[in-house]
């Protein structure tokens, strides 16, 4: 089945120690997104890639970076995780950017714990 896969499902890191979360998709979608979701809150968009074009949300901290080496894979790098970065990180994809083609398919998420 076509899907969005995230690895690992649970990640524990130490304060200040860089960590990378990965996402892959078999949907062949043009757009890939990274969201941060804290407990009992709505997902918050960090950035997205349209093909190779990277778009950062204005309020996304510099501590968060992303890479998309090819259509299928996208990575979230947290350079120096702080306690406030502990959250669920969701990857999503959509075929196109706008309107009715913006249905976003989410992965299961990676739960990040910062010690």
């Amino acid at each position: 089945d076509a899907m969005v896969i995230q690895n690992p499902r649970y990640q524990v890191t130490q304060f200040g120690k860089p960590v990378t979360l990965s996402c892959s998709q078999t949907l062949n979608h043009n757009v890939m997104y990274w969201y941060q979701q804290k407990s009992s809150q709505a997902p918050k968009l960090l950035f997205h890639y349209y093909d190779k074009d990277f778009n950062n949300e204005a309020d996304t901290p510099d501590n968060f970076q992303s890479r998309r080496p090819n259509t299928s894979f996208c990575f979230l790098d947290i350079r120096s995780p702080g306690l406030g970065d502990a959250a669920m990180y969701l990857c999503a994809t959509s075929r196109e950017l706008a309107g009715g083609y913006n249905e976003q398919f989410f992965g299961p998420g990676t739960r990040l714990t910062v010690l």
């Binding site: 804290k38 009992s40 997205h48 349209y50 502990a86 706008a98 309107g99």
Partner: protein, 112 residues
Amino acid sequence: GESVGLHLPTLSVQEGDNSIINCAYSNSASDYFIWYKQESGKGPQFIIDIRSNMDKRQGQRVTVLLNKTVKHLSLQIAATQPGDSAVYFCAETPFSGYALNFGKGTSLLVTP
């Protein structure tokens, strides 16, 4: 550790009853609306969507109603089942936009 989040509004219904979850939005340019279901420890799952040129759309056991005059969206679930227990988010985006703006979410609890 993780910061303490807000308490979600909770809707408690009995199995077999109909559920109605409401959502208000503020952007007049919103063109596309989606309801997502999120079970504990999982990513949001698409339920149903509606474009702004419609006021009602039906799926299997679910109906979305859109009232653009008062900027209100609702999700109706017929014959609610225990498996429907989850957090439900509405999301919207303008026609020319890309970012999904999520609402706060409502926790649906189905009791036997």
